[in-house]
Every structure is written in C-alpha cells, then in structure tokens.
C-alpha cells in the first residue's frame, strides 16, 4: 500500500497471496473448477492451485487468445474455468475472445486480472492495466469487481464462482490493509458503507477504498465528516446506495486505481446525473500511461494519495456550497 508504514509482522499478506488461498479453498469445494494459465502462474500465484490440483490446472503457454478460447470450450463442457493472466492481456490482448467466445454466450467463466492500476512492479505502462474497468464494463452482461481488501477478494471470488455467467475481477499486487472482517460477504450490486459521514461521500473501489479511509481520517481534523462507501461491485453498481449517499451529502469523490475515463468515476457520474446530480470529483489515472517507478512515487505522481482525495473532497464541497 502506498506509504503504508504498518510493521511487517502484523501486515496482511499481498493480495495475490489471498487470491491464491481463495483459489485453493474454492478448488476444494468445486470439483469442476479448472484454472488456466498463460505462463504467469508464479506471478499471479495460481501456482498454489496447480500445486493443490495439478490435474485441474491447464498451462497454455504465452497465448492469451487461446487461453480465453480454451476457457470458453471448457465452460461449454460444463466446467468452471478460471483463465488467469495479467489484466492487460484479458482486457486488451484477448478482448475479442473474452467478448465473443465467452461473454456473448454468457458462459460461466471467472476472469481474474492481475497487475492493475499503477505499476506494482517496474514493468511499466505495457503491463499495468488502467483501462480494464472501462473496457470490461462496456461488454454487455460482464460483471466487474475490484476488492477493497483480502476478505473482500475472497468474498468476490466465492460469489463469482457461484454466479453463472462471466465475471471479471481485479487482483492487485499491493498489500492492502484489512477493512472487512473474515465474515464479510459479497453481493453483486451491493456497496458497503465503511465510514458514515454527512459532509461528502468518498466512493472507492479496489485498493483506493483504503486510501479513502485515510483521506477521511485526515478530513476529520478539519471537522469534515466524510462518508466512505466501498463499491467493490462496479458492475452492477449499487445505484441505490450511490444515489442515497450522494443525495444526503450533496457531493462526492470517486477513487479508482485505474483511468478516470469510463471506469468507476463514469459509473458513478452516469448514475448520479440520471438520478441525483451533485458535484463529483474523480481520482484516478488522468489519461496518462503509467510508467515504471516506486509505488509511493507513482501514487504521488498521479495525484492519487489520500491527501489528493482529501483535496478533491474539499473541492467537491466548495462546489456544492458555491464557494469555489
């Protein structure tokens, strides 16, 4: 997590490790679950599933179009495939296959996209996906989720495997502080109020929800009580909660570890414009490629730190109050 200074000992594990654990747990329960990989399993950590269920792990080499086509075929035979690769290769390299072989017929395929948002390795722009939320949201019938912490990820995965039809969810490599307890569950189209507040709503998804919490903590010092709402289910969106919270506070910020064009910010403003127009500021990558760098530097560089969220909240409030 950007700027996290929690001690190594009590630290929650990297989200990809939580991903691996949940995969194995689900593999135990679901005999028809098959994990597929395109030469990245020790990065994505699907290697844990391979170790536990070698017969239900399929390696396709460096061929992502084939990866998703094969997954479609397996789904057609009644299996529950989980084709895994970096998000860029699901959302860009094999998008036509994801769209037409999988999504168009509504097949039961669960797609994790790893390496999302700001570069969590130094691989840079080509490997870190900032368009996946916009892209996947645009596919009819595709469900899209971005977990707020490890418990949320596990819950998303459980729900995804129990949901017929295609699902895309993001797996960051960042280590994210715990927000939800182990009893946490995930329901499509349901958001979560993480902190109640009355002055401004901070809508976060993925790792950004934690940064919204930290922003809210700093705003308290100024006497601003921000409501933090986690929108792990990006599509379908919890429109009722979005509208209710934003109507109540009268202004909002959206925060996503992705492009601000077409992603969560769009999902929220689309709905608010239709039902409860209030001032909204968006936090995310502002139409720029994301280069290699240190992760904390990158969050600063792209204006995505808690302080940036807090500043955006103040701008939204000023706009609401007509004082800008």
């Amino acid at each position: 997590m950007a700027g996290s200074d929690a001690p190594a000992a009590g630290r929650p594990k990297e989200m990809r490790d939580a991903f691996a654990a949940a995969l194995v747990e689900l593999g135990q329960e679901l005999p028809r679950m098959i994990v597929l990989d395109a030469d990245l399993h020790t990065s994505s950590k699907t290697s844990a599933f391979k170790a536990a269920f070698p017969d239900r792990f399929i390696q396709v080499g460096i061929a992502e179009q084939d990866l998703f086509g094969i997954a479609a075929g397996l789904a057609l035979e009644g299996f529950q495939p989980v084709p895994s690769t970096f998000a860029v290769f699901a959302a860009r390299r094999a998008l036509d296959q994801v769209a037409i072989s999988i999504c168009y017929p509504g097949l039961d395929v669960t797609i994790p996209g790893s390496y999302v948002g700001l570069p969590t390795s130094r691989a840079g722009a080509s490997h870190n996906c900032i368009e996946d939320i916009a892209v996947m949201r645009a596919l009819p019938g595709m469900r899209v989720a971005d977990a707020g912490d490890n418990a949320d990820l596990r819950a998303i995965m459980r729900t995804a495997m129990a949901t017929p039809g295609p699902v895309y969810f993001r797996v960051t490599r960042l280590t994210v502080p715990d927000l939800f307890g182990p009893a946490h569950t995930f329901t499509w189209g349901r958001g979560e109020v993480v902190i109640e507040g009355a002055d401004v709503t901070l809508f976060g998804t993925g790792v950004m929800t934690s940064l919204c919490v930290r922003a809210a903590e700093t705003l308290v010092a100024d006497g601003i009580r921000a409501e933090v709402v986690h929108l792990g289910s990006i599509k379908p969106l919890d429109t009722d909660l979005v509208v209710a919270s934003a109507s109540r506070t009268g202004c909002a910020v959206t925060a996503e570890n992705a492009s601000i064009l077409g992603g969560l910010g769009a999902a929220v403003t689309e709905v608010l414009a239709e039902q409860a127009p209030v001032p909204v500021q968006r936090i995310g990558v502002r139409d720029r490629w994301v280069d290699s760098g240190g992760i904390d530097d990158l969050f600063t560089h792209h204006g995505m730190q808690p302080s940036d969220i807090a500043a955006a909240a103040r701008r939204a409030m000023a706009h609401r109050d007509g004082t800008r």
Binding site: I58, V60, G61, A63, Q65, D66, F68, G69, I70, A71, A72, G73, L74, A75, L76, E77, G78, F79, P81, D96, Q97, I100, S101, Y104, P105, G106
Partner: protein, 309 residues
C-alpha cells in the same frame, strides 16, 4: 462401424448424401434471399462436408442436442451459418421453416452463430480465428469426463487461417495430443475480397499444419467418397496422439457458376429472381427436378439495406 465398400461409399449412401448436400445449398439460398443477407460462397463450398459429417460421421441426437455422448461441431467460420443452419434443419434440430427467421430480430437463427438461441449450436462466433481454441477447450474438457469418446470437429475457412489465434490453438492441440479433435479446412481458395493466394497466401498449407504437429489429410472436399474416407481414417486409423486436420479442397460458391471462385458472392444477397435462377441452376447441376425460389412471389418483408459487400 460405418459400412463402406473398398474405400468407397455404397451407391445408395452416396446418393443420399448428395441429395443432402444439394438441399443444404438450396436452403442456404432460400435463407439468404429471404433474410437479404448472408454468405453464399462459403455455404456452398462446405455443403458436402456438412452432409458427410452431420449425416454419416457425427454421432448426434438432434432431439436431445445436449446429449453428453454427442460429437461436437464448431463452425469457426461462423459466417457460413446458412450452410450450417441448413444442415441442422435437415438433420432435425429445428423445423425447416425456421430458416425464414434467419437474421430476424428475435429469430432463432442469428446472422453469425449465437448458441443461446439455436438448439444444437456448439459455440457462438463471428470473428474469425477463434473457433479452434474453443474446440481445443471442449476436447480438453471431454478428457475429464467418464466416457470421453465424443469427438470435436471444427470447420475453418482458408482465409481464416491468416489469423494467429488459429495457430495458437493448433500449437495447443498438438501439445495436448488431442487426437479426438478434427479440424476441417474448407480450402475454397477465396476469402472475402479476393483469392487467398493474392491477399495473404497460406501455402505451403499442409506443411504448416504438419509443422504444428498435426496429422494432415488432403481431399477433394466435394467428393463424398473422399470425405468419407478421410473421416473414416480420422476415426479408426490415424488417432495416435496427434490432432487431425482434413484439408478439403473446395470451390467457393460451388454449384452456381457465377458464384464459383468469385469473391463477389462471398457475401451478397440475391434478389428473388436471381435466387430463382440460382436454384434452377443447382437443380440442373446436381440432377434434381427443376425447382425455383419458393418465395418468389412474396414481397421481401425487410429493407434490402445490405444488398452486398
């Protein structure tokens, strides 16, 4: 086992299959003319392939299209849907009258294949190059099953083999030794806008498949005996750890002279009068009683927005 006489079909069987191939062509013309959209050339070129597969070599139960033991066929060149729908209607998957709902909003026969609405379709498609991967996935899936004797067929276009996805799938099929996967290439020499050889040549084609680890059979794709022989070998003789491709040399538009090897008829909807002439030519060519377009006198119910190209 399949009855055969010295590598040749019994005459009655050949006649039966020839009549089916003829009907596939007829229904394709009816469908495309009424729907005012569709691909004649690539439907005609695979008429015999479809007849031999659906009516002789594939084990299917049209009345129970999801029967586990069935052989699966994926039409990767999904724009050839009229030919496929014709074969499936004739085989009994749905009433023949449904062909007139081809491309209609709410109909069961979508322009490109949509498996959610057509009983018996084994995949959805449209973009070229994807079907073989789906077939590989199905073949891998079958391996997990208790009785994995079913086979997976996949029909590809020759122009389609320009697509890299085809070669990714080909590599994977060989890697996983999927000898219950049989690809059939409708090698009709023409893609959408010209000859394959001119636009993006694929020769030496058999060499490519061999180099990708496949067993190759090359046949005249309009010769029912040759096709039968190839699928017989694919079933009983060749399988020993390699996927099998039948390269079927065909004529795009086979059956109507104006359409033969003519990319103009890759996708073009004839008007009623033209369809009528085409159907009569087909009857003459294949030795059936003279019969024209069944709806010649009905006004086309839809705009001919997409008249060609």
């Amino acid at each position: 086992m399949i009855e055969r006489i010295g590598g040749r079909l019994p005459d009655a069987e050949r006649d039966r299959l020839a009549a089916i191939a003829y009907r596939i062509r007829r229904l394709s013309v009816e469908m495309i003319t009424w729907g005012q959209w569709g691909h004649i050339g690539g439907s005609f070129s695979m008429a015999e392939i479809l007849a031999v597969l659906y009516f002789r070599h594939m084990s299917v139960r049209p009345e129970d299209p999801a029967w586990e033991g069935r052989d699966r066929l994926i039409l990767s060149k999904a724009h050839g849907s009229p030919g496929l729908y014709a074969a499936m209607a004739l085989r009994g998957y749905f009433p023949e009258s449904e062909i007139y709902s081809y491309c209609e909003l709410g109909g069961i026969l979508e322009g490109h294949t949509d498996m959610t609405r057509t009983p018996g379709l084994e995949a959805s498609g449209g973009p070229l190059g994807m079907g073989l991967s789906v077939a590989v996935g199905r073949a891998l899936g079958l391996r997990y099953k208790a009785d994995p004797r079913a086979r997976v067929f996949c029909i590809l276009g020759d122009g389609e083999c320009n697509e890299g996805n085809v070669w990714e799938a080909a590599m994977a099929a060989a890697h996983y030794q999927l000898d219950d996967l049989i690809a059939v290439v409708d090698y009709n020499k023409v893609m959408a806008k010209g000859f394959v050889h001119d636009q993006m040549a694929i020769e030496p084609f058999a060499d490519k498949w061999r180099a990708f680890g496949w067993e190759v059979l090359e046949v005249d794709g309009h010769d029912l005996d040759a096709l039968d022989d190839a699928f017989h070998r694919a079933r009983w003789i060749l399988p020993h750890g390699r996927p099998i491709v039948v390269i079927a040399h065909t004529v795009k538009g086979m059956g109507v002279e104006a359409a033969e090897f003519n990319s103009k008829w890759h996708t073009h909807a004839p008007d009623g009068a033209t369809a009528d002439r085409m159907l009569r030519e087909l009857a003459r060519r294949y030795g059936f009683p003279d019969e024209g377009y069944s709806r010649l006198d009905d006004p086309v119910a839809k705009e001919t927005f997409y008249g060609g190209e």
